[in-house]
């Protein structure tokens, strides 16, 4: 047992850290209003979007977007531990992780795509030239994703898609959709789903913005009316989509933005140390001391789930339960942290960005809003508990 990086891992951590320090504009970390675990504040504004796009390209230049892929397809063949180190540092500097193209679409193509598809897409994804948004959820298919209804019908050498997707993060900004469609309405529901890549410039696509609770346009409703997609854009085999989708969960297990929790913890620590209210140093307050001690425990436990999951991946073990525990723990922590900050700061906690009175640039009310999404997106807390209980602990379904 060794809770310590090897020299090589430490050197890599430093390399990533040096890169981020050099490339990030001044004030980036302090100004970021992204709340750890939240889904609502990623695409904040055009300036941040552009800085981030530029940064993602530079990350890709170093082979870090496709960090764990084989070299043959533009990857860097790093170990799962190094991959985890990378994600930890990037999120610690409050940079959104490489997009779903690099983290999910690429690895899925790598495992299940045809050679032609690999040649066509992987190099572009590795260079961060293309990005995908995830067209999974529908108005009537949320936690029960396998009930999705959007249909794709084969016509000659094309698929024709009709239906509606929702919660499409970044669908208004991103060039390609990674769409789960029903290709066999008569098959048992898990066996009639396929995955397709859809060019967002195709005729018949309507994108309608959804403004999230933070007041940010990050989600969209997307309508597909007779949208034609070439058959070569089918991932792997027809009607196998559900299995690809489940297998792909493996690739995003570590994508919880773990470092942001530590960073925000440190920002609060610093704030409480330097702030007085009514002549009294906040750090002397019992409530502040208790909150920070509680958060220190929860953040450390979150990190332990994180490294445990990474370590298991590095050993070729399947961290199904651990990954669900990680997701459950960090997103519940996202809520606890926001609640605790609100409780401790009192009326000041209500102040949004823009006032000289706002603690931490108005991070707290943003976090209070954004943390609502944490325990819902990418599998609700209840779904995670179901997974832990049924797959991990062997409790019966019926």
């Amino acid at each position: 047992m060794r809770f310590q990086f090897t020299e090589q891992e430490e050197a890599f951590q430093k390399e990533v850290e040096d890169f981020l320090k050099k490339e990030l504009p001044p004030g980036w970390v302090e100004e970021s209003l992204q709340w750890p675990g939240g889904y609502g504040s990623h695409e904040v504004d055009e300036v941040h979007w552009r800085v981030n796009q530029e940064l993602q390209r530079k990350i890709a230049e170093r082979g870090w977007a496709s960090i764990s892929w084989p070299r043959e397809y533009g990857g860097a063949e790093y170990s799962p531990i190094e991959h985890a180190i990378f994600d930890e540092r990037v999120s610690y500097y409050r940079v959104p992780p490489p997009g779903f193209g690099a983290t999910v679409a690429g690895p899925t193509i790598l495992l299940f795509g045809s050679d032609e598809m690999k040649q066509e897409w992987l190099p572009k994804i590795a260079r961060a030239e293309v990005e995908f948004w995830f067209a999974y959820s529908e108005p009537n298919a949320g936690s029960d994703l396998a009930s999705l209804q959007t249909q794709a019908v084969e016509k000659e050498d094309e698929f024709v898609i009709n239906g509606q997707k929702t919660w499409g993060s970044g669908a208004h900004l991103i060039d390609y959709a990674w769409v789960a469609v029903r290709t066999d309405p008569d098959a048992p529901r898990h066996r009639g789903i396929s995955l397709l890549i859809v060019d967002m410039n195709s005729p018949g696509i309507t994108v309608r913005p959804l403004t999230n609770i933070c007041g940010i346009h990050s989600f969209n409703e997307v309508f597909f009316d007779d949208v034609r997609v070439p058959k070569k854009n089918l991932i792997g085999e027809k009607n196998q989509g559900w299995y690809y989708l489940v297998a792909a969960l493996d690739f995003e297990r570590l994508m919880v933005g773990i470092g942001a929790f530590k960073r925000v913890f440190e920002m609060f620590l610093d704030y409480f140390k330097r702030t007085k209210r009514d002549g009294m140093a906040l750090k002397r307050s019992y409530e502040v001391r208790r909150m920070m001690a509680e958060m220190a425990v929860e953040v450390e436990v979150a990190y332990m789930f994180y490294w445990q999951t990474a370590w298991m991946l590095s050993k070729g073990l399947r961290p199904d339960t651990e990954a669900s525990m990680l997701k459950l723990w960090v997103t519940e922590l996202s809520r606890h942290f926001a609640d605790a900050a609100m409780r401790v700061l009192g009326p000041y906690g209500l102040l949004e960005t823009g006032s000289k009175w706002s603690p931490l640039n108005g991070l707290v009310p943003r976090g209070y809003l954004d943390s609502v999404s944490a325990t819902i997106g990418a599998g609700t807390s209840e779904i995670q508990r179901n997974i832990i209980a049924v797959r991990g602990l062997g409790l019966p379904r019926k």
């Binding site: 060794r2 001690a293 789930f305 490294w307 832990i388 602990l393 409790l395």
Partner: protein, 377 residues
């Protein structure tokens, strides 16, 4: 980074589990709760034969020179089995103090006896003020020729009633800084002036009141440097806290397994209750809390083993483990329903230990304040 146990540790774990399942059934645990001594010499000797008492004692003192992490692995299994008796007080509270503080001569004399299971030890730190810090120590020791004379009352001294020696923490110098001027004494329990009273406690874990009245202790029984006892004790208390966490994680894991077996079997409304999400979510929460507790406990144990500064990690382990074990037993009880509320059932054995473990060596509030201080708040 390597978060797995070594092959030897895995083997130790399996051997210990098999042995304790066989030799320490819950019927024995129950009997020992009633029994005044709280252990059987037979089981004690069998454990010694397996090499458990000598596990962390260096080879030159008759041990096998295992690491603290090995001990943590073993303690996990003991917690799982609710093992009664003086292993913890002898090896952790006694052995580790002597290892850390003892002179060469004292080690030569005492450690081989611990290794062979020939003596029972314990630590007398806490007093009626129920504090774990240096300023809580009011018992004093004054030098008189080649002896010290100790006076004071110690409370919550585990297994003092069966111990051969108790390591007594006493003030030898009055100072402004409470951490200075404390000395560790190896006190023979047969000394005149010692009065030991067994206390009845929630977990029947054989806590004692120890009244020392003009107890005379020879100079050579001062453990380590006089007046410098606290520095050693602080380190050993960290080890003891992690050791307790390991025991508690083992107990929590057993609680969860027991509960899962029941949830899979028990049928209500025509189906196993484990198929209801209300029950599944309780179990999911238990498992998550316990896994978290196991990981932070191992991290703290590894840091302590490596001799790295670990105050925050130890505090985190104790808070998380105390919380996880307690919640596991409460939710476990909820799932077992009325049957768990009976003396015949095993749940209360864990429920009792979870609470006792949460409190011993400092509870959540104690360690949260410690973390706040370490963070510079």
């Amino acid at each position: 980074m390597d978060l797995g146990l070594s092959e030897e540790q895995e083997m130790l774990k399996t051997t210990a589990r098999d042995f304790l399942e066989r030799e320490c059934p819950k019927s024995l645990v129950r009997d020992m709760m009633q029994d005044e001594r709280g252990y059987t010499t037979e089981l004690w000797h069998r454990m010694a034969e397996l090499g458990w008492m000598e596990l962390v004692i260096p080879e030159r003192y008759g041990g096998i020179g295992g690491s603290f992490l090995d001990l943590v692995v073993l303690l996990g299994e003991m917690g799982r089995a609710c093992l009664p008796g003086p292993f913890f007080s002898t090896v952790v509270l006694g052995g580790l103090v002597i290892l850390a503080a003892g002179t060469e001569e004292q080690k030569q004399e005492l450690l081989p006896k611990i290794a062979a299971g020939k003596i029972i030890l314990t630590l007398a730190l806490m007093e009626p003020n129920a504090r774990y810090d240096a300023s809580g120590v009011r018992t004093n020791a004054t030098a008189d020729k080649d002896e010290f004379v100790i006076n004071g009352t110690k409370l919550f001294v585990e297994n003092a009633h069966i111990a051969d020696y108790v390591i007594c923490v006493a003030r030898t110098v009055k100072t402004k800084v409470p951490e200075q001027g404390l000395t560790l004494f190896l006190v023979d329990c047969k000394s005149t002036g010692i009065k030991c009273t067994l206390l009845k406690t929630l977990a029947a874990d054989k806590q004692c009141e120890l009244v020392l009245e003009d107890v005379r202790v020879p100079q050579k029984n001062v453990l380590g440097e006089p007046d410098q006892g606290w520095a050693v004790l602080e380190k050993v208390l960290e080890q003891a806290t992690v050791a307790k966490c390991a025991e508690m994680v083992g107990g929590a894991e057993a609680t969860l397994e027991m509960t899962l077996d029941y949830a899979k079997e028990r049928v209500q409304f025509g189906r196993p209750i484990g198929s209801f999400q209300a029950i599944q979510h309780h179990c999911g929460n238990m498992a998550t809390d316990i896994s978290g507790a196991r990981f932070v406990t191992y991290k703290a144990a590894w840091m302590v083993t490596e001799g790295l500064p670990a105050s925050i990690e130890v505090a985190i382990a104790k808070i998380q483990t105390g919380h996880a074990y307690q919640r596991a037993t409460i939710l476990g009880h909820q799932i077992f329903g009325a049957v768990g509320f009976c003396m015949d059932h095993d749940m209360h054995l864990y429920y009792r230990r979870a609470k006792a473990g949460e409190i011993v060596f400092g509870d959540g509030d104690f360690y949260r304040e410690k973390i706040a201080q370490e963070l510079g708040l």
